[in-house]
Amino acid sequence: MRSETAARLGAVLVAALVLWPGGLAAQERTTELREAFELERRGRYEVAARRYEAILDRNPANLSALLGLERVLPPIGQLDSILPYIDSALALQPEHGSVRSLQLRVLASVDRPERLEEAARDWIAATPLSVEPYREWAVALEKIGDLAGARRVLDEGAQRIGGASLSQDMAQMAALDGDWVAAAVHWQQAVRENPALLTASVTSLVRAPESSHESVVGLLTDDRNDPLSGRMAADLLVSWAEPAEGWRLLERSLPENAQEAAPLLRRFADRASLVRTPEGARARGRALERLARLSVGSAAQRARIDAASAYADAGDRDGVERMLEQIAAGEGAGRGSRAAAVAALIAVTAEAGRVEEAEARLREWGDRLTVDDAASLRRQVAWGWIREGELDRAEGVLGDDSTVTVLAVRGWIALFRGDLRGSTQYFRSAGPRSGSREEVTRRTGVLALVQSVAPDSAPELGQALLLLERGDSTAALAALDGAAADLPPQGGRASVLTYAGRLAFSLGEYERAATVLLAAIAADPQSASAPTAGYHLARTYEKLGRTEQALNRLEALILEYPESAVVPLARRMLERLRGAVPGR
């Protein structure tokens, strides 16, 4: 009787040691563990192993020490020596899932298939309604490459426990096996059982190779009355860069409840933003537009703004305007956000070529916009008139504004009129920092061209550049040719021909580009534009498939103009043509 009581007391003490974190003994164990971790971190596995074993000798159920032992024994080839410690831990806590799982991992690693099965069956017997033993057994088998065995175990578990409790594991196993249709079937079951697994299912199935996409989507969309599968298919399609089809599926499978639909729309929009195509942007816009309809107040306004931005990326002007009008009229839209929406609407209208309308709206709203917004819109409307060829109206919109950004616009207007001296003065006054970096680069480029032209006035050149600004590149090319012919060979002809050659290249007229660029070099081989023309000539030859000529041209350029700024570009192209660097 005394001994029975002592044994019970012993068991209680062991349990207390395991569970009670306080006290001196616990602190010592923490220190010991920390030391063992440190030894392990420093790669002293042998010593670390002995330290973990000492902890376990005193406290067999110390899980941290057991797991530490599992990490340090393999490098010293002694993994099987952990098994007695696991047995001792299980004698105290036979249902401890982590220790059971550890036992299966170790038995799999030391290649003891019979003991592995025996241990797994023990665990199943101890917790007959749990899926954990089957799951961990399958994982252990999978880790040693026995995928067929892992599948068998999961099948057995599914049959015994029933339901879709192991569907997720079976899906992952099928995916590992490369059987993506089976994976989709299992995921479908798992998601039906637990809709919260929708994201996990998509994360897994999205890795399916392209050859399986059609069959996976076919399976998921087979039943039109299964909205969950429809949502899975929608997410997969947008992740596989088929956003339009994905949106079609999502739209028809959306739940009616706004609170349930909103996160689905938000997630779809996020995924669509990764598809960097107009289609992706449009699908994102649609999802956000729908989200805005389901939302109220500032959340709805935010969704509309995002949708407008997505439609703008998609080049869908109707979508942008629709959103901006809704923002402007939006419930709860403050004066500020309404003005911002109107400003955006004016910009979009001007960009679309409806300049008259944009100007009228600007007149109506001008005094309610911020000073900066109004100035920016005046410039945009002015550019709208320039693109219409209405230089006087453009100047009229600018009024008496003498800010540097407006001086830059005046420089362009002067240039398009052929007043090279005037445009140079305006551009210089505007300085190198007014406007966006892109505008400054463009202005600097054209200033270099203008400065190489000797006459102060060249209306034909101005007209040619205006045609280019208005998007009539073909007419501009012919006009540049004509303008160049009127200029002295060393007084701008070479530069204008180089400019024309580059334009012909960008239009894909390579034969013409080659002729014009050769003429540019011949006009003035000593000019600063000659190496630039040579570089673009090499690019043209490449497009024409005359690689040898391109190589010769590049070599000549590097050797004849070693100080030119285009030499690094030429050298890089030379490397690419010779296959020395990856192609872009």
């Binding site: 393999p74 690693s109 030391v110 999978e142 880790k143 490459g145 590097i558 050298r571």
Partner: protein
């Protein structure tokens, strides 16, 4: 057999005599072309290509070990000058008087001038398909403009390596386990193709399995070194070549590779007297873990054992006494940031006695860059995958070397390419 023996050199004399015999154009002006390899060089990597092509045209060159970080000297000729200009390589003209000064500096310091006499024939062991990772050596060769040929299993088994002076191995898994990506990347087209191609090759050459084929290939490579070849290996090729050589008659491959599981006692049965560099190695038993053994110090794909990257330091050797390791470590930087590979580094306690360590990480139990002799040839192992992409992942785009023309890590690779071009000198007694 176009290969030449090299290694037993330990001369102190500079190579002026060899160059002095070459007729030079003009006597008043510059007669030499000097390519500095210190920080003033605009494109270190292409400088090796300029040197290689000069040798290929039948010209002569000298490699000035430790002089301005391993510079090159040529008799002035228009072709080399043109080549350097086209490649953007900094090259200076020197007069005879300037070269006399230069030789004086070399004679008085820990420097040496090694004549380079012939462009080595280069082979790269690479499968015909395109794997979703890059090969640093092929990129370096292509960027520098050094010609090479591709060889694979059939050529090695047929004994065709004798046609080459220098052989490079990179990411190949000579244990025949497809870099142990088989389970993780199951179903990906590139892996499927890799497996099918290897299995087809094994069948064609009459081997029972891919691991058997790769072991035979490893033996072929060892024989090549034994007969005087120069072997340079990086990344996984280093570790798996050694395991394959040690595993004669031992199953070290997982079930998916050859139909039978790995011998649980494989580590004990390995024969390290058959290998070049390592000994006493323990293998990784799990087929799920993309790591092979405890040779690698960093264990990049092995969860808790993965070690962070540091920097490795090149050793400074006595140029006149140890010209070979001196050549291999020529660089304008002595400390270089480390980079991962499936095999990143080599544990010091796994090296055989006699292995020369060329670079290590101070305070760490691993080394980065090692060299040794085997039979009549030499081998050099360099850990890691891509010196300019520290965490190269499967599917990442290849490194664009035009963005790294001064890469000290890539220089080490190109040192190895030029090393077999060095002229043999008699042992100084």
């Amino acid at each position: 057999m176009r290969r030449r023996r090299f290694v037993e050199i330990m001369g102190g004399a500079v190579a002026g005599a060899a160059l002095g015999t070459r007729p030079l154009s003009g006597s008043g002006g510059a007669t030499w072309l000097f390519i500095p390899m210190d920080e003033s060089q605009t494109n270190h990597l292409k400088a090796y290509g300029v040197t290689y092509r000069a040798l290929q045209r039948g010209g002569m060159a000298e490699w000035l070990l430790n002089y301005r970080s391993g510079s090159f000297l040529f008799p002035l000729d228009a072709e080399t000058q043109r080549d350097a200009a086209l490649q953007g390589v900094t090259a200076l003209q020197l007069t005879d008087a300037g070269v006399v000064d230069l030789r004086g500096t070399i004679a008085a310091n820990n420097m040496d001038a090694v004549p380079l006499e012939k462009a080595p024939e280069v082979a790269v062991y690479v499968p015909p398909n395109i794997a979703p990772w890059d090969d640093a050596v092929r990129m370096a060769l292509e960027y520098a403009g050094i010609e090479y040929e591709r060889v694979w299993d059939a050529e090695v088994v047929a004994g065709q390596l004798d046609d080459y002076d220098w052989l490079h191995l990179h990411h190949e898994d000579f244990t025949g386990q497809y870099s142990k990506f088989y389970l993780t990347y199951s179903g990906t087209p590139w892996l499927t193709e890799m497996v099918q191609r290897n299995q087809r090759m094994a069948r064609t050459l009459g081997f029972a399995s891919v691991p058997d084929l790769k072991k035979a290939v490893a033996r072929g490579i060892r024989a090549y070194v034994d007969q005087g070849g120069f072997l340079f290996a990086m990344c996984t090729a280093t570790e798996t070549l050694e395991i394959a050589l040690a595993a004669e008659g031992v199953d070290v491959a997982a079930r998916y590779a050859d139909g039978t599981p790995m011998d649980p006692d494989a580590s004990r049965k390995l024969r390290w007297d058959h290998t070049l560099a390592f000994e006493g190695v323990r293998l990784e038993q799990s087929p799920m873990t993309a790591t092979f053994s405890d040779i690698d110090g960093h264990q990049v794909n092995n969860g808790p054992k993965r070690q962070p990257l540091g920097a490795f330091k090149l050793f400074n050797f006595a140029a006149k006494i140890d010209p070979v390791p001196t050549m291999l470590v020529q660089s304008h930087r002595s400390i270089i940031s480390d980079y991962y590979g499936l095999t990143t580094s080599f544990m010091r306690d796994r090296l055989k006695p006699g292995v020369t360590v060329l670079a290590d990480e101070e305070g760490a139990p691993w080394v980065k860059y090692i060299h040794g002799e085997y039979g009549s040839g030499t081998w050099t192992f360099f850990g890691g995958h891509d010196p300019e992409d520290p965490q190269h992942k499967i599917g990442d785009p290849p490194t664009d070397l035009s963005l790294h023309p001064n890469s000290p890590g890539y220089r080490l690779i190109l040192n190895n390419v030029l090393f077999p071009a060095a002229k043999k000198r008699e042992l100084k007694t």
